[in-house]
């Protein structure tokens, strides 16, 4: 009889995911490298004048973050599906949404958190005024968990389709648009000297909503996918 508690099962799955990710470092580094490359190419393409770069910096960083989150998302459940671990997750005595939540957290630790840490470098490269750095990092800190949770829903839905990459992007990009608008608006209001409090709070609310509901959707999608 399996006597493990739900909490133990979730942490074990999280530790295993981390161990697997550390063995496949290129999969973790690739999306981050993509963001850095996009950000370094922009000054070369539009010219190094601070008036243009500073204005588009937030948009460039956020669009790069959105697209990079799509890059790695297909793999979120793919390996587990192919090697049979997804079946075992469904048969595990822990609630499936809890295990899904654990996987989302690990995905964020490996894709979202590094982006938040990289943000000052990107801001520097794009000559974003220093006053807005804090707000940019804050929007990324609040926004990237949403990206992880929403890509998890898309990845779980398309995992059994073989190559569902294009479909995944189509499914997810419309959902990312509110995030993009409010994140850009928050940094913009800091730049013009007003408070970004409202936009950040709204993003935080959206994040909590997504993190609460997404694991349930992921669990339902996994159950359909293993059939």
């Amino acid at each position: 009889m399996n006597r493990a508690s739900s909490w133990q099962l979730m942490t074990t799955i999280m530790r295993r995911d981390l161990a697997v990710a550390l063995r496949r470092r290129s999969d973790v580094i690739n999306p981050l490298l993509f963001v850095v490359i996009v950000v370094t190419l922009f000054p070369l393409a539009v010219g190094p004048g601070p008036d243009i770069l500073g204005r588009i910096a937030t948009g460039v960083i956020w669009v790069a973050a959105l697209l990079s989150s799509l890059l790695g998302s297909e793999r979120l459940f793919r390996d587990d599906f192919l090697d049979g671990n997804l079946e075992q997750m469904v048969l595990s005595p822990a609630p499936l949404p809890l295990l899904a939540f654990g996987k989302v957290v690990v995905h964020w630790l490996l894709s979202g958190l590094p982006l938040v840490i990289l943000a000052p470098v990107c801001a520097l490269l794009l000559k974003l005024p220093f006053a807005a750095w804090g707000t940019l990092m804050l929007t990324l800190l609040v926004g990237t968990p949403m990206l992880s949770a929403m890509t998890a829903v898309g990845a779980a839905l398309t995992v059994s389709l073989g190559r569902g990459g294009a479909l995944l992007s189509l499914l997810l990009l419309p959902l990312f648009i509110p995030l993009l608008i409010f994140a850009a608006a928050a940094v913009e209001s800091t730049l013009v000297g007003t408070s970004a409090y409202g936009q950040v709070l709204l993003l935080a609310g959206l994040m909590l909503l997504t993190l609460t509901l997404a694991p349930l959707a992921v669990a339902a999608a996994i159950r359909v996918s293993v059939n």
Binding site: M1, N2, R3, A4, Q8, L9, T12, I13, R15, R16, A19, V20, R23, R24, D79, L82, D83, G84, N85, E87, Q88, V90, L91, S92, P93, V226, N227
Partner: protein, 214 residues
């Protein structure tokens, strides 16, 4: 003998084809059920229904005298399912796989080294599983059986890719599980070494009219 698992009037339709209809079976503690049939007849589907991965079109499955959906957690804690896919992480070594898997199975104090020796993988413990052969990966997956306390084992083609020694080892483990009044449901194209009361056989044919239950 107490009834461990009971399937009542199961019907399953996959891709517009009736695999089996009104299939009933009953298995007690210490008994082994061998599901036979040609490729694509629905053996795996039956096992996945019993494991709780698939819903049958009609009918229900009972474990310890209560329906599956009444207490899914009891179900999940008391059964162990090993399917076609071995659930072995290709990037991790055999030792790490056993370590994580035993924690996921809630087995405390598992000596992973002892387990490696039992399944004959000693000396290969620090090689990523993707570099091992299919049979060796199968052994990592099947190592779960040696510490499993689950009452019911559901095994889809457990002998695939195993050598004769591995098959012999698995037979010995099955024997001990049956002596501890555990139950086993398996599909296999190999003949099993049991006969008589312990062994039940069910044969699923392509034509659902010819469903035979011995």
């Amino acid at each position: 003998m107490s009834v461990v698992i009971e399937a009542k009037q199961l019907t399953s339709v996959r891709a517009g084809r009736t695999l089996f209809s009104a299939l009933s079976l009953q298995l007690g503690g210490g008994e082994i059920l061998h599901v036979e049939g040609p490729n694509g007849a629905g053996k795996s589907t039956l096992l996945r229904i019993i494991a709780g991965l698939l819903q049958p079109l009609e009918g229900e499955v009972w474990l310890f005298g209560q329906p599956q959906q009444d207490d899914p957690e009891l179900w999940q804690r008391q059964t162990l399912f090993i399917g076609h896919k071995p659930a072995v992480k290709a990037e991790l070594t055999a030792l790490e796989n056993l370590h994580f898997q035993s924690q996921l199975d809630g087995a405390a104090h598992v000596d992973a080294w002892q387990l490696l020796e039992t399944v004959g993988l000693l000396g290969l413990e620090d090689i990523p599983a993707q570099q091992l052969s299919a049979g060796q990966q199968r052994r990592i997956a099947l190592a779960r059986l040696w510490y499993s306390q689950a009452k019911l084992w559901i095994l889809d083609e457990p002998f695939t890719a195993l050598d004769t020694y591995g098959i012999e080892l698995l037979h010995q483990r099955f024997q001990r599980h049956l002596e501890q009044s555990g139950s086993i449901i398996l599909t296999s194209h190999q003949p099993l070494s049991w006969s008589g009361e312990r062994l039940q056989k069910i044969r699923i044919e392509h034509n659902d009219e010819e469903l035979v239950y011995e």
